[in-house]
Amino acid sequence: MKALTFAGVALTALLAGAGLASAKTLVYCSEGSPENFTPAINTTGTSFDAARPVYNRLTEFKRGTTDVVPGLAESWEVTDGGKTITFHLRKGVKFHSLKDFKPTRDFNADDVLFSFDRQWKEDNPYYKVSGGKYDYFNDMDMPKLLDSLEKTDDYTIVMKLKTPNVAILANLAMDFMAIGSKEYADFLLKKGTPEQFDQAPVGTGPFSFVSYQKDSVIRYKANKDFYGEKPLVDDLVFAITPDATARYAKLKAGECHVNAYPRPADLEEMEKDSTLKVINMPGLNVAYWAFNATKPPFDKKEVRQALSMAIDRDAIIKDVYLGAGSKATTLIPPTLWSFNDKIPDVPFDQEKAKAMLAAAGVKAPLDIDLWYMPVSRPYNPNGKRIGEMMQADLAKVGVNAKLITYEWGEYRKRLANGEQITGQYGWTGDNGDPDNFFFLRGCPGGKPGNSNPTKWCNAEFDELLEKARTLTNQADRAKLYSRMQEIEHDEAPELLLAHSIVFEAMRSNVTGYKQSPLGTIAFEGVDIQ
């Protein structure tokens, strides 16, 4: 009996739990562990999210938009026809402290030079640290764009470019261009543990890094010295919760305040729950069906237009995206500046498609290859299912589509070489600059081995693309992009399928959270009521 009583007391104590008072802590249920905390050597959104609270960049994206605003660079001037950019750095910006490192000086030009050189110059002592893969720096063509970077004084940096490209200002706001502390880097080099630079980050951002336990938790503290929008909570915690159902359960139970990547299947229930709120926005991506414009009959734009009309995209969005997708009318999602809202939707009209094919001299049945995506991507949840639906639609206009796919690496390679007649593909944007989408249809991308699977090359489109890179005024650039969207719509090098819709779920007492069209998360200015 005694034992039973004891067990009962113990059980009650266990179930009752503890309710201790504490400082204001915001818990974000994240989807996985970061590879490390240096965005320059990472490629995954999970890793970028974990490092973002700690760091700043020369330029920043205004929270909740793709607008480029001053960051560690307070201002800049573009001269020399877009080939020289002079940055004026912010003064009095403090780096965070760690247990074993206390900064002795404020942020200055040396930190900027170091952060570039690590990714750019092989003789930088950090170039090889932690594997030394700078995928984004290379993917964004930084080595091809940059000519030189020099400091004229502690708070002025002059950047010279090989070719004019103002879109580089958006590149600088991307995670991989996070500015780290050179003093910290030197300190660790002397100590003989340079890899700590990537494990215990020191930055200038709204939150300072406290601790990280793999697959379990990342802790941050509010940086009271932060120069920008102040954090409103004292502590920020990433509770690493890989399973989406468990994340939802934790959110419901109040164990986290904001939830990464809710499952589309849970959304309806979440929206009904008054303790939760769900927000959504089109993702910075696009899925499309590319026609190889170098292979007959797809060298004729009428054939491309006709097949575009043959596909019932509403059905695809309903059945495959399960509502988490929106029909795309242009290459860029509507959240991006320069989106042309006058571009009409491609109608679903199979009769007209048949007539156009006949008029273009295509004899039925037309046999084509239809390559489908072998992997699920943010913009295309199920390439095979979409392929099958397209195949069925095409059969109705007298087109026999043979479904083909390869292993993902092979698929990309062959697509880039233009081996396909038609194929699914897509793009996830990087920096929110329209150039980061439209370059996909530039003539260089159409060359064998390059990333444009339509292999379409239009002189006017290409000229406008180049010209837009030299203009500094956003409104002037937007006009050119607007025209390019018209050309692309008319020429139909591809059928634009969809932009995904990104959902985020949180407790209804979370205030000030702004969803980003870039798909990034940020917690400065976020509070719990």
Binding site: S22, N36, Q213, K214, V237, A239, T241, G409, R412, T428
Partner: protein
């Protein structure tokens, strides 16, 4: 005893060799190598692709890669994880205490309930309790872990709000260093009031989920083994001598009946490791199971190869211990050979 011990250790060597080869080969049969799996729509220039393949030694013939791998292993070098750039052994040692702690509590749960429940069923053979236990244990045995875990979370944590959903500790109220990696011990060391109880609360559901299959197996095994023993002559003799039923069952019968149960417990350890992969995923438990799954996705060859080998070493070691315990419980085994 020593000879027996040495013989058992020698027998593990071929197991390890086979394991090394299998993990090495299996991960390479999966399409996409660690370099390619990083590449998105941007693609990667052939020069950079070749450069990184060379850096990782992937441009070497496979047989040479395998020999290099064995050579490094022989020197105690498990390699460096491609994704985190940490030593595989370091990562394993950071994560393994969580798996061990969870497995320990799961086994504790399974044994503490399974053995008495099975023994009782044997004593009350054919009765309602016996039938009910056997039915329930059949359910337990066939329970899909994922479903069972989610069911418990939804009911106990979300609906009733009795226990936390997942994780190892309340992250809002407690924050302390983890010198041992065992949350219950670290919580005790932290001097933070309530931390230990909170760590236990976090262990309850995952331990139940992971312990359910072994519980069912142990209960059934104890029952059938007890039934056999209860009909033995010496039990009849003990009864005839007038010993109390508790003493007959608890001392004479149960001790002998436990022999096959100990074997089953040993065999369950490898099953526990497999179950831990799922349990850790559902409960966001930062252990090695979840880490391995991640490594497959990232084609992190060193992490996967090293991880599998280290876990296997643990399983082999535990089985060795079980064999030795077996020797202690039943002296015939070590002396007889």
């Amino acid at each position: 005893m020593v000879a027996y011990f040495l013989r058992r250790i020698a027998l593990t060597i071929p197991t390890f060799l086979a394991l090394m080869f299998l993990t090495f080969a299996a991960i390479r049969l999966v399409p996409g190598d660690p370099v390619e799996v990083r590449t998105g729509e941007h693609g990667m220039s052939p020069e950079r692709l070749a450069y990184f393949r060379h850096e990782l030694g992937l441009d070497q013939p496979v047989w040479k890669q395998f020999l290099d791998y064995i050579w490094r292993l022989a020197h105690g070098d498990f390699g460096v994880s491609l994704s985190s750039q940490q030593k595989v052994v370091t990562e394993f040692l950071t994560l393994f205490p969580a798996t061990l702690e969870l497995s320990f509590f799961a086994m504790l749960f399974a044994i503490a309930i399974g053995v008495p429940a099975g023994a009782l069923a044997a004593v009350k053979r054919g009765g309602f309790y016996d039938q009910a236990l056997m039915t329930v244990s059949l359910f337990g045995y066939s329970m899909p872990i994922f479903w069972w875990g989610l069911l418990l979370i939804m009911f106990v944590s979300v609906r009733l709000g009795l226990l936390p959903v997942s994780g190892r500790i309340d992250l809002i109220n407690y924050s302390f260093d983890q010198p041992t990696g065992f949350m219950t011990i670290d919580a005790l060391l932290s001097d933070q009031p309530g931390a230990f109880l909170d760590a236990l609360r976090h262990l309850i559901l995952p331990a139940i989920v992971l312990g359910t299959v072994p519980l069912a197996v142990i209960a059934r095994m104890t029952r059938s083994s007890m039934l056999e023993v209860l009909s033995e002559d010496y039990v009849r003799t003990a009864r005839a001598k007038g010993l109390s039923p508790a003493r007959v069952i608890g001392v004479h019968a149960l001790r002998n009946a436990l022999l096959p149960v100990v074997t089953v417990i040993g065999l369950s350890i490898s099953g526990l490791m497999a179950g831990a992969v799922l349990t850790e995923t559902i409960f966001s438990w930062p252990g090695v199971g979840h880490w391995l799954i991640d490594s497959i996705g990232r084609r992190d060859y060193p992490a996967l190869q090293g991880g599998v080998l280290l876990i296997s070493a643990v399983v082999v070691f535990v089985n060795l211990i079980v064999d030795l315990v077996y020797g202690v419980i039943d002296p015939r085994i070590s002396h007889g050979r």
